[in-house]
């Protein structure tokens, strides 16, 4: 008579990776299982021993070690092990000991291989190469949202309508009417080449005709070059739609020329992308610029949070969310600075207001400090001018604090005189930091190397960035110091029952996903980015440059990208959950609030980070050529 393995089938049915298997298959699995009991402390698998089974923990807990004796993982009921060795050479790669009295199910190799080959979901869960599982986890999420995968060129519905630079404003208006478009690309032409191959010099929109021609009362024969926008914000045809949205938000433009191989492919308008966005961040940005008082700005804090929650609900990826929050943060600063200039009058000398850290990297979330600074004109005279800038900085920083951007605990704010200095002082600062690096300083000051001008003479921040780029890449002592600072915060090993498990085997109750995850990743990526002279600020963009430069071992770049995306998204999702449940969001996560899926993938992501830190330590040593 057919045996009924009631307890076994019931157990399997409730545990990953078996949950997706039919009862029929589960019954077949149960019939082939062997069972063994191990007393706490007993060795279950010995390194190098032959194995023919895959192990699933029915009850109890085990510890998996690396060959060098380092703790690799701790697993409890429903956990599984031995797949590494089983699928390679049928030798144990990671020795395993019972941590508690443990009952294990052993599934014979032929059956394991059959399940692995025939059940995609099962294979995904058990995937022997950790990184593949992570990649799939990230990819599956992104597939859910068209915004994350759609390329800009899919929005280009027609050839660009071009206008020679010699044309007049009236020519432009006529051409727009004829073609039924709201924008034209202005190109310089010569006789010996077709217009489509000509150089793009600007864009003119119907709004330009209204605002720059009709309103000031200029004649219709004004050259189109006088009313066009010459400083073009362009996109490449193969960028993602969400990147176009971020650019439009950031530069407050409604039309973007799309370029393919250096030539204009078409134009996308705000209306083209609006269906991809529920007007979330656009709405908030617009409200910020319409606010007339600091109180009105403060009232928008709840809109910012609502926007964040909606982006999460719409399955936006971390880049989109981090970018949108950064655009919103930047808009707050810009509006506050406008208000400050109204209040205190025009600045006595030009200045540039800087965003540092996560805002400059476009990785801002809702729980965030304000990190900012001021670059002043070299003619700055403290006796005459500092009171103005001190007042301005206080106004902006207090305003930001009122809007939910808490004061920086390390006092990296424009209100601090040390960080309110003329350009030449800033140049000295950076030269000093790079040429005579002090580990103590760099430990807390990595954010200075993520800097972006948000208001005023923003070209000064570009100059500082150029200086950093020139000096940092060849300075091995500086890079070694930055690397050492980047290694101060390490990821945990993983999770065990309701706890976070540290590499020394100790348990803690919760994990700060910023301090233990996204921040050390951003730190690590920054060091590599400085070493390869990347001009990018965003960690994902920096990674692209790093991969391009070929300094990482094969496969490590994409692994880091997936790890960053996963950790960031877990952090983001939990902040969104906090908002939903009415609790104040923070960066701490209790393991009991993580799904099995998140736990498994986080463990993989932490491992990738940990390995990448080891590589960083090895690569950047003082005196070692880079």
């Amino acid at each position: 008579m057919q045996a009924e393995h009631i307890e076994i089938v019931d157990f399997l049915r409730q545990h990953q990776p078996f949950t997706g298997l039919s009862d029929e298959v589960l019954q077949q699995v149960a019939v082939q299982i062997s069972i063994a009991y191990f007393k706490a402390g007993q060795q279950i698998l010995e390194f190098g021993a032959e194995i023919n089974d895959w192990y699933v923990i029915r009850s109890g807990a085990v510890e998996v070690f690396r060959r060098n004796g380092e703790l690799y993982n701790r697993l409890s009921e429903g956990g599984f092990f031995a797949e590494f060795g089983l699928l390679r050479n049928k030798r144990v790669r990671f020795p395993v000991y019972a941590l508690e009295d443990t009952l294990v199910y052993m599934i014979p190799e032929p059956l394991f291989t059959e399940l692995f080959d025939n059940n995609e979901e099962f294979a995904d869960q058990v995937e022997v190469e950790d990184r593949t599982r992570l990649r799939q986890a990230v990819a599956r999420r992104e597939d859910a949202n068209e915004l994350m995968t759609a390329r800009i060129e899919t929005l280009v519905s027609r050839e660009p309508v071009l206008l020679p630079a010699a044309a007049t404003a009236r020519d432009a208006a006529i051409r727009m009417t004829e073609e039924g478009v709201s924008s034209l690309l202005v190109v310089t032409t010569s006789d010996d080449q077709p217009m489509a191959a000509s150089r793009l010099v600007g864009i003119v929109t119907d709004r330009d005709i209204r605002d720059r021609l009709v309103t000031p009362g200029l004649p219709f024969d004004t050259p189109v070059t006088d009313i066009m926008t010459a400083e073009l914000t362009k996109v490449e045809h193969n960028q993602f739609v969400f990147e176009a949205i971020l650019l439009m938000l950031r530069y407050n433009v409604h039309h973007l020329p799309v370029i393919k191989q250096g030539l204009p492919l078409g134009v996308i308008a705000l209306a083209d992308v609006i269906r991809y966005e529920s007007q979330n961040s656009l709405f908030v940005v617009r409200s910020i610029f319409n606010a007339q008082t600091v109180e009105e700005l403060t009232a928008l804090a709840s809109d910012v949070r609502a926007c964040f929650s909606r982006l999460v609900a719409e399955d936006a990826n971390s880049r989109m969310i981090g970018g949108s929050m950064a655009v919103i943060g930047r808009s707050f600063k810009q509006r506050l600075l406008e208000m400050a200039e109204e209040k205190f009058g025009p600045p006595p000398v030009p200045y540039c207001f800087l965003a540092l850290g996560s805002m400059a990297r476009e990785e801002q979330l809702i729980v965030t400090d304000q990190d900012n600074a001021l670059i002043l004109d070299n003619r700055f005279d403290p006796q005459l001018h500092d009171e103005y800038f001190s007042n301005l900085a206080t106004f902006v920083c207090d305003g930001l604090a009122a809007c939910g951007y808490t004061y920086c605990k390390g006092k990296v704010m424009a209100t601090n005189r040390q960080w309110r200095q003329p350009l030449k002082v800033w140049e000295q600062y950076f030269s000093e930091w790079i040429e005579r690096p002090s580990p103590e300083f760099l430990l807390n000051s990595a954010i200075f190397f993520d800097l972006e001008g948000v208001w005023g003479e923003t070209q000064w921040s570009d100059m500082l960035n150029d200086l950093i780029r020139r000096k940092a890449r060849s300075n091995s002592r500086f890079l070694a110091c930055m690397a050492r600072a980047a290694l101060m915060r390490t990821p945990p090993l993983g999770f065990f029952k309701g706890f976070v498990m540290e590499t020394d085997g100790k348990h803690t109750n919760s994990i700060n996903m910023k301090r233990r995850g996204t921040a050390p990743l951003a730190d690590l990526i920054r060091v590599h980015a400085l070493a390869v002279g990347s001009a990018a600020h965003n960690s994902f963009e920096r990674l692209e440059d790093i991969i391009e430069a070929g300094i990482l071992p094969p496969g490590n770049g994409p692994d880091l990208r997936d790890a960053l995306e996963l950790i960031a998204m877990v952090r983001i999702r939990h902040q969104a959950l906090d908002l939903q449940s009415g609790t104040e969001p923070d960066n701490n996560i209790e393991p009991e609030n993580l799904s099995d899926f998140e736990r498994k993938n986080l463990k993989d992501a932490f491992q990738i980070l940990s390995n990448a830190q080891k590589f960083l330590k090895f690569r950047y040593q003082p005196g070692r050529a880079v």
């Binding site: 307890e7 019939v31 007993q42």
Partner: protein, 249 residues
Amino acid sequence: MFYLPRSQLQNESSLSGEDLSAVDWPARFRELAASARHPALQQYYQAGVPAGSTAIADVPMVAMDFETTGLDPQQGGIVSIGLVPMTLARISCAGAVHWIVRPRARLSSESIVVHGITHSDIAAAPDLSKVLDDLLAQLAGRVVVAHHRSIERRFLSNALQARIGESIEFPVIDTMALAYRVRREPGFWQRLRGRKPDSVRLADCRRRYHLPFYRPHHAQTDALACAELLQAQIAHHFSPQTVLSDLWC
């Protein structure tokens, strides 16, 4: 398996009325092989049993559990049989068997409540004599593991007596007897404070070794539960080198 009231459990040796601890089982099997008349029974004895000096790690075993119509082996009958082959290192579900058989005794509604096997279940089931050859073949060459040996021993013996006119003898490693041997007796002061000795019921024994809870009263699940318990008991109190004669009776 049927759970006896605590009073009867405490009184286990008098209930079984056996003293088999001194039996030389390989020799006894040779005698029985010569005297048995039923061919399947003859073959069973001919397969023999490991010598008492064999290390437990090397002994092929089979965990066995019955559900019955009642507690009294003279009156009651077997309703279901669960077998799970095992060694000390591995319990093998691949060889597990579960039979529902039609008892000749009346199925009491009291026992239906316990094991959930109903009149209609057994109406369609074969008589034990139909599965006897298979059952004995499964047991051949293996040492039976059971929790409370007298149930399995006496019900099977009586059932065979009624069907083939011969009874059966076999050695058993009794996890309940082992539980008695290893249990911590409360000291004088603890007894004064009312502390009772550890329970030797299957589920309670399993809990002490951190084995998972299984729903009781299904012959195959109970056999499995018993098999796991033996592995745990050996791991905690004995060793793979402990000889069979220390464990069976």
